[in-house]
Symmetry: D2
Subunit: 158 residues, 4 copies
């Protein structure tokens, strides 16, 4: 978990959005997931605020993780940039399948795409060959062939 819209909450005193804890365990419970996972919160940031140091930390944590299949929840605005950094660190020969996903609407809000995207990312990561991917809108893209369309909010082939 790295934060992103996925995990934003509404602060009812200030009327602004903020990060508290990740909703991932609750989402896995809601989805009745029985996928064997180990959940780690690396940071809780808006992806527009993500620094090179943050990305280096993500790479380091992926390297340290014994798992060969990794899902990263991430803000959508710079998801592709983080995917590029990961791709440089984890060539196919590394044996790691890494899938980034996120949400357009916070899970805590009424109408989030988060649960759909989580089910999607967890599934793609189990059957794709080693590499770095972005799973959004029910589709999965190789990291180098995707961009977020800022006008529609949709991830599309690039």
């Amino acid at each position: 978990m790295t934060g992103g819209t996925f995990d934003k909450e509404y602060n009812e005193l200030s009327g602004t959005l903020f990060f508290k804890d990740t909703h991932l365990p609750e989402m896995l419970r809601l989805g009745r997931s029985r996928v064997d996972v180990s959940v780690r919160t690396l940071m809780m940031v808006d992806s527009l605020d993500m620094t090179d140091a943050d990305r280096a930390l993500i790479v380091a944590q992926c390297r340290q993780a014994p798992e060969s299949q990794v899902v990263i929840t991430h803000g959508t605005d710079t998801m592709v940039e983080t995917a590029r950094t990961l791709a440089a660190a984890f060539p196919a020969a590394s044996g790691k399948t890494i899938v980034l996903t996120g949400a357009m609407v916070p899970y805590a809000f009424g109408s989030s795409d988060g649960l759909f995207n989580l089910g999607s990312a967890l599934s793609f990561v189990q059957c794709l060959a080693p590499g770095v991917y972005v799973a959004m809108n029910g589709r999965c893209f190789e990291w180098s062939r995707v961009r977020k369309n800022k006008e529609t909010g949709v991830f599309e082939s690039a």
Copy 2:
């Protein structure tokens, strides 16, 4: 769509559960899905009430569908039985990848696993080899190696 818990609704006059329309289009919209799909409602039944004729209809519709990738939403109680019928009709050589999924709690209720399962099934169907599968609990099983544990409600290896 064949019905199942996925699409059950609460009748506020009688206090009982019933089927009206499928929620699938609404769920795809909520998930911001951009997977190219054609949606067909074959029936709206509780899977315990599903007959051989119903299963023959499902097979016939899959055969008629030009798509090589098919997701079937289905009640969980007899999902494996329908998967067996489909497997007899669609050997790997048929080129069809068929993934059955469902829900433990109706989508219309607060805490459904439906959106997670739909994201999962739509993703598995895009990357698995031809065959018949059951996608539940974030996992995907070959039709001949899965059973629903009636005590826990979880699909497990068999």
Copy 3:
């Protein structure tokens, strides 16, 4: 609390509706209620199954309660019948204002009227003269002048 649709839940193993615990404390929290209340669960039954003994228990508990303002959550089907029993036991001279309310859709489901009705009943009970009332659909009726229209599910003047 006496049960009723208000507090019905979905049993995901059997696919049927059942009672577990009352959702009232959670609903008061969601409504940010600061009304000073004491919450008691008297029973958890479908109002169609409510017996004379159950109604006698409700009367006894209201009598024992030191509060002069009481809200009773109750199944809608026999709400008026229980109101009549209460009215016989608590004439205006008793100083008690008793408001019965309920829900057409369980709170645990997506689209319940429960939170609206609870806000309404808690408000009416604070400003009405002693007597027995039914608060549904945003309106409040004296117990002797209301009936549930079984065809529309709406409480109306009688």
Copy 4:
């Protein structure tokens, strides 16, 4: 309707909160309300941005309304200030009962107090004597005896 947190929505492209349309009709439908109402949207603003001209418009609209009972949805931050303006314009002799209410969390989000507050305000307005009131947290205060505690977000006696 004047806007306020009640009617804020999440803009999934910019990740910010904004106003679109009021959710009031949908909320009345969800609450199965049968209270005879006429709904008017006067403005859609954050109450911190509300000007004297906005308040004059609210007064003018209340004066013009043939109804003697009025509920105003309003941002919580300056709700008491608007109540004061209304009180100057509508003394008890005016025969108008005006109840202001709002929400701490937008209705469109998962965990809003909006539906509870709406049920509460609609009920108080039906039984209180002419005057100007604030209905929040399940309670109702005369306009001159309430303040919002900015630290807790709770309306309390002042």
